[in-house]
């Protein structure tokens, strides 16, 4: 018999509510977040306009006026809180949904990896070691945020855990693969950014022309594999 998980529920504005299942980056907790996410999604609750899963929390954005019309009496917040309490109480009953495995090619050529050499040096590793460590693990997409389609993935091998750069770059090219602490991620668009850049993928992580614009989804499993610069250029052109 599992003891109920500790949780907290608090407002995230007067039109949003957060269920927090912990304050750590942890696969088991994120799996619970995703289980609640999918359950809430399948309920198609009128008035709930966004459900945002994060590392260890989930936030419902709702239309106060629509929900107030649905049922009179009591605050809308109180009702949303009860809804989340029910979800939190049964969070241990859910079986984990199977996560799809996505394989992403990464070119670790020095021309596309401005921080790879210094990162290797910091950890007294060879560049090949860093590549082997980065491609040697399956990562979980814990959440998507910061930019459209920016997947926060973890966790990298401790040997390559590296803090963000002290000075963020003003422009990181789309497709850049980076490390920040135990996290790894890919910039979907050109953007300023402070992650340590160790390579680049030719895959388009975000495409507004696609009806499903985002290549990765929260809860996905991701593996990286190394490609040569020639393969990278060819893939970019196709």
């Amino acid at each position: 018999m599992l003891t109920p998980s500790p949780y907290r529920i608090y407002p995230c504005g007067d039109h949003a509510i957060t269920l927090e299942l912990g304050e750590v980056i942890d696969i088991a907790i994120n799996q619970k977040v995703m289980a609640v996410y999918h359950r809430l999604l399948s309920q198609k609750i009128t008035g709930v306009i966004d459900i945002i899963p994060a590392y260890s929390s989930l936030t419902l954005v709702y239309d106060v006026l629509t929900l107030a019309k649905k049922q009179a009496g009591g605050s809308v917040y109180e009702r949303m809180k009860q809804l989340l309490e029910k979800e939190a109480a049964s969070v241990n009953d859910t079986t984990n949904t199977l996560s799809p495995l996505v394989r992403i090619p990464v070119c670790y050529d020095a021309s596309l990896a401005p921080d790879l050499a210094s990162l290797a040096e910091t950890h007294q590793l060879s560049i090949e070691d860093v590549i082997a460590l980065h491609t040697g693990k399956t990562y979980r997409v814990y959440m998507i945020g910061f930019l459209p389609g920016f997947a926060y993935m973890g966790s990298v091998d401790e040997k390559i855990n590296t803090p963000r750069k002290p000075q963020p770059r003003t422009k990181v090219p789309a497709g850049s693969v980076g490390i920040a602490g135990e996290q790894t991620g890919i910039y979907p668009l050109d953007s300023p950014g402070g992650w340590q850049l160790i390579g680049q993928t030719p895959v388009k992580l975000f495409d507004t022309a696609n009806s499903n614009p985002c290549f990765l989804n929260p809860g996905d499993e991701v593996e990286f594999y190394a490609i040569s610069l020639t393969e990278f250029i060819k893939a970019k052109q196709s």
Binding site: C12, G13, D14, I52, S56, T59, G145, P148, F150, Y152
Partner: protein, 328 residues
């Protein structure tokens, strides 16, 4: 044939009520900053609340009407004029083909909304016509308007002038919006990390003024005030944020997230501006100061209901007057 951009403004974009349902993919809702002005401008020309409108900052665009159109302006007052003659805000105005609408001096507010009968034609992306500037999607080709662009209304409705030689005709009623806006201060509900502020910082929020910094845009307003401090440093893990969230930056200053905010953030959340006050905040700009007042979430909801009731009454009245006038 519709509206030709003779001269673009600082940032003129097509907007609607926003793009919801995609924040789990990091896609921010966007939409009109001042949703009250958007709704009133729409109501004045007989539209539903969320028809696509033109949002303009100062300086605003100079617009040539290539056909006679019914329009309404709401939000900021940038001294609108047609062929050099001033026209008022918050009235339906019929503008004759060949006339030029331009804006002079910034009197009040930061964003003006232009609505036209049936709304503007716009690219729809993920069920919204709002312009997403960084993704170059939605609105007018995913970007702000440029010189020689043309925007048109969904339907071309013919109108008759009562006076044959007038270049514009102001319909004789005005939407009274003063009750829908707050003037001197904004209300917030305390955020999850409010309790972590030092006692003196909590007092600073209640007792001092905050000024909007130059680095403020549709993404967020950076505030300048006395630096706030947490009792203890707090290691945060990223989670969702919303429009109105007041984040505490490492330098002790706050940023209030606006329409184009990121979907997640990792800074302490001091509070959240209540929904009812966000349109008023959207009319503030760099250099403007205000004070903050804490309310409960129950109060925030009650304030929103009252505002919505007034807003709907006003919308109904606008629609009614217009129908009556056009049918008379």
């Amino acid at each position: 044939m519709s509206i030709h951009i003779n001269k673009p403004g600082l940032q003129d974009t097509l907007q609607d009520a926003g793009r919801y349902g995609y924040q789990h993919l990091g896609i921010n809702p966007g939409g009109a900053m001042d949703t009250i002005a958007m709704r009133i401008a729409n109501a004045l020309v007989g539209n539903e609340s969320n028809k696509t409108v033109l949002e303009m900052h100062f300086p605003a665009a100079t617009l040539l009407f290539e056909r006679t159109m019914l329009i309404a302006l709401a939000g900021a007052d940038f001294t609108a004029s047609v062929n050099g003659e001033e026209i008022p805000l918050l009235h339906p105005v019929l503008i004759r083909e060949g006339s030029v609408l331009q804006f002079g001096k910034k009197q009040k507010g930061s964003r003006i909304y232009l609505a036209t009968e049936s709304g503007f034609v716009a690219d729809d992306w993920l069920h919204s016509s709002s312009t997403h500037l960084s993704l170059k999607a939605g609105g007018y080709k995913g970007r702000a308007l440029r010189v020689n662009d043309r925007i048109q209304s969904v339907k071309e409705q013919p109108y008759d002038f009562t006076e044959k030689e007038h270049v514009f005709e102001i319909f004789p009623w005005q939407a009274k919006v003063t009750d829908l806006y707050t003037q001197d201060g904004f209300r917030f509900i305390p955020g999850n990390e409010f309790a972590l502020l030092s006692e003196s910082s909590k007092n600073l929020i209640a007792d001092t003024f905050f000024t909007i910094n130059r680095n403020s845009d549709r993404m967020g307003y950076r505030l300048q005030g006395e630096a706030l401090q947490l009792r203890l440093p707090k290691e945060m893990i990223s989670s969702a944020v919303t429009r109105g969230t007041m984040q505490l930056l490492p330098d002790g200053q706050m940023i209030i997230l606006m329409a184009d905010h990121q979907t997640t953030g990792g800074y302490p959340r001091v509070g959240h501006i209540i929904s009812a006050d966000i349109p008023s905040l959207a009319q503030m700009g760099p250099g403007d100061s205000f004070h903050l007042q804490s309310v409960t979430i129950e109060e925030a909801e009650a304030i929103l209901y009252r505002q919505e009731m007034n807003l709907q009454q006003l919308q109904n009245a606008c629609n009614f007057r217009l129908q009556q006038y056009l049918n008379s």
